[in-house]
Amino acid sequence: MGNFIFKRSLQSVLSLALLIILVFFLARFTGSPADLYLPLDATEEMRDQFNQRFGFDDPVYVQFFRFLGGLLQFDLGESIQYSKPAVEVVLQAFPTTLMLAAITMPIVIAVAIVTGSLAAFRPGGLFDRIASLISLIGASTPNFWVAIVGVIVFAVWLRVLPTSGTGTPWHWVLPVAVLCLRPTGVLVQVVRSSMITALSSAYVKTARAKGVRARAIVFVHALRNALLPVITVASDQAAGIVNGAVIVETVFGFPGIGKLMIDSVLLRDFAVIQAAVLVTALAVFIINIVVDITYALVDPRIRHS
């Protein structure tokens, strides 16, 4: 296992390096930040002063090596828009996004497993047909539309929930609900088809011949065998939220990493973009390691190979 994690880390460091190089240079192709931050009638002198302060007057490759040097000391440069270290800005926004993911994913997984398993128990039955229809609608409805309709219905008409912000637990209800919708729809389908395969297997027949109760057959015998594809898809969805639930964060005014990244891209705040990419990539890397360990825990054949 240690060997495996070491190899995985090595691969991740390589892809991370590639990602950082790409982001660094692509961001600089978009133009100079000076155009955005200084008044239209700024003098050449002011521009030089601005560029000098943030190091934009040096050739790009010099900027890159300076960035690498900083990286080794965990210094990712200074944010132009906030006049603070970029790392600080990112680490302020990230907990909100992590919190969104940490609340959303357990709900998604629990609902999908129960619904998908029950649907798979009698494929083509009434429950299956209703569950399939609803999950299909959930999986295919655009987030921004649901978010806006949700605000209109619950915040504007019924006045039971706030429209935006993060102050109280009530502020989290709508964003989490909207964020759950699509992943749940997709995951129900994954659980269902994986469970149908597991329930028609020979070991389930053995369990029935042993006199095992129906509930234990579904949730003990079949479910654990059906989990691998579910874990794969769920981790992908978790990574998607950790990378920034851009639409939900924007609609509900959540100060998360997705909103921060979009704002930083629009304002050419290079240091913040780089820091955000690094931090989210690191989080995705950790998710992947956790997933690999979960695979091994769930399936002994993976553990022994």
Partner: protein, 544 residues
């Protein structure tokens, strides 16, 4: 008056509605089994032999199936009228069942000790006692070091051990009846005998009744007291084993008995000609598979010798049988002969030319002369191609062999040659039975007029009576076209009927080779003797 028989299935009829109409899987079937007695239900695939036994275990789901009539009386109580919960309490406790493929039938993600103990836990035995008894049971069925192995998972055991584990789980609560659905079909022949012996021994100790569902007459002979023969959902013959097998009254039973291989004379080398150069000469061929070396480890790279120093010759018109159990290297050898795998060492001469030293263009030409028929005709025929496209594909690959205008005519000829009809050419593989599909595969292999056909378990997936038909076809082609065969099989009786000479493989090595009569009549190697004893190929064993 209540019936005192252990289990009595009476006038049972079960239908499955399908797209093509209602299938009468079981039609007015009756059988009984008592304590200490063993009933065999014998039949080929699709005969409905498993369905009535599955109905006893409530494994036939209604819907979609319909149980239209009959009773299943267990100690006088009709199980079909009992509640689902009552039937669950019978399953595993009073009646238990084991299945064909123990790897699939054991849950891959739980330790085997846990799975055996589960049978006891669901019927009210506390977890601690159940775990201790599971370990005892593992020892009882012959798993060594049961305490430690109880924590292992199914994939860590061999096929025979897995079936022993299934048996341990089935007998955990000392059931009155054990139903075994093809319990040994997925196992190697020496292991089959051991598992059957174990079942008989457990039966002697506990006095339980047994129902064995099988397609294998050898199994019936070995373990059963009485037998019912099923065909097309009906029982065509029933009675004591000795009587049914020696004086079959129904024509189907007679045909079945006739089709059993290994009970006739040895195959005659009708067309073999001992020319100066053999058609095929294999010299000191080995195949070693290397495992992945460990990172930062000085341990030598792990390696497996799949084939170890194999040498043999095959003359024109001869048929060489290669027998061995799973993992003996026989399929790897076949793959190397077909050029699907490259030997690590040695040489393969075909018609005097070393196949391994040929240029790509020359290899392509030789390919034409060596064709193949694989085990599973369903998997080896592309489901989206018509039979016309499948059989003519070799001509598309080897351009210039046959002009396109003649393809249709030639396909029709080939189909007739293998016993199919010319207008079958427009159909798709799924419209044919297993035996017919294998005929199509043979027609395809004949398209390029090869000199050698390599058959890897070519009839193993087929029913006995179909097996006999295909072997007859292969013999006919051998006679008419002077074909040579390499015939790989785990079934010794089949090889005995068909091959002119035999190679016995064991753990990658050829342990014995010679003319069929000699190898089967006077086996030299200990392993050959064990194989023959386990498969009980004795000339005239049944004729008496």
């Amino acid at each position: 008056m209540p019936d005192t028989r252990l289990l009595k299935v009476q006038n049972l009829s079960i239908q499955f509605p399908t797209r093509k109409g209602i299938v009468h899987a079981v039609n007015d079937v009756s059988w009984t089994v008592d304590r200490g007695e063993t009933l065999a239900i014998l039949g080929e695939s699709g005969s409905g032999k498993s369905v009535s036994a599955s109905a006893v275990m409530n494994l036939v789901d209604t819907p979609p199936a319909v149980i239209s009539s009959g009773q299943i009386l267990f100690r006088g109580q009709d199980l079909l009228k009992a509640s689902a919960e009552d039937r669950r309490l019978v399953n595993g406790k009073s009646i238990s069942m084991i299945f064909q493929d123990p790897l699939a039938a054991l849950n891959p993600v739980y330790p085997i000790g846990w799975q055996i103990a589960e049978t006891m836990r669901v019927h009210g035995i506390d977890a601690d006692t159940a775990r201790r008894r599971a370990i005892d049971l593992l020892g009882r069925v012959g798993i060594s070091d049961p305490e430690r192995r109880a924590r292992d998972y199914p994939h860590q055991f061999s096929g025979g051990q897995r079936q022993r584990i299934m048996i341990a789980s089935a007998i955990a609560l000392q059931p009155d009846l054990l139903i075994a659905d093809e319990p040994t079909s997925a196992l190697d022949v020496t292991v089959q005998a051991q598992v059957l012996d174990l079942m008989k021994e457990l039966q002697r100790d506990s006095g339980m009744g047994m129902v064995i569902i099988t397609h294998d007459l050898g199994v019936v002979e070995k373990v059963a007291d009485k037998v019912v023969v099923m065909q097309g959902g009906r029982i065509v013959e029933a009675g004591p084993v000795a009587k049914v097998l020696s004086q079959p009254s129904h024509p189907y039973t007679q045909r079945l008995l006739d089709a059993v291989p290994g009970r006739h004379g040895f195959s005659v080398n009708e067309a073999a000609e001992a020319g100066p150069t053999p058609l095929l000469e294999v010299r000191n061929v080995s195949k070693v598979y290397f495992g992945r070396p460990k990172l930062f480890s000085s341990a030598p790279q792990p390696q497996v010798k799949a084939v170890d120093d194999a040498s043999f010759k095959l003359s024109r018109g001869a048929t060489l049988g290669i027998v061995g159990e799973s993992g003996s290297g026989k399929s790897t050898l076949a793959r190397m002969l077909l050029g699907l795998d490259t030997p690590t060492a040695g040489s393969i001469d075909f018609d005097g030319k070393d196949l391994l030293k040929l240029s790509a263009a020359e290899t392509f030409k030789v390919r034409r002369r060596v064709q193949f028929v694989f085990q599973d005709p369903t998997a080896s025929l592309n489901p989206r191609m018509t039979i016309q496209q499948i059989v003519s594909e070799p001509w598309a690959i080897h351009a210039g062999v046959l002009p396109r205008q003649q393809w249709r005519e030639r396909v029709a000829e080939l189909l007739e040659k293998v016993g199919l009809l010319p207008d079958h050419a427009e159909r798709y593989p799924h419209q044919f039975s297993g035996g017919q599909r294998q005929r199509i595969a043979i027609a395809r292999s004949l398209a390029l007029q090869p000199e050698l056909i390599v058959c890897d378990e070519a009839v193993s997936a087929l029913d006995v009576s179909i097996q006999a038909q295909i072997i007859d076809l292969l013999k006919e082609l051998r006679r008419d076209m002077g074909l040579s065969y390499i015939f790989i099989a785990h079934d010794l009786a089949l090889v005995r009927d068909f091959a002119t000479s035999v190679i016995v493989m064991y753990q990658g090595k050829i342990v014995e080779q010679g003319p069929t009569e000699q190898v089967y009549g006077k086996p030299q190697h200990d392993y050959t003797r064990r194989l023959l004893a386990a498969s009980e190929v004795q000339p005239g064993a049944l004729a008496a």
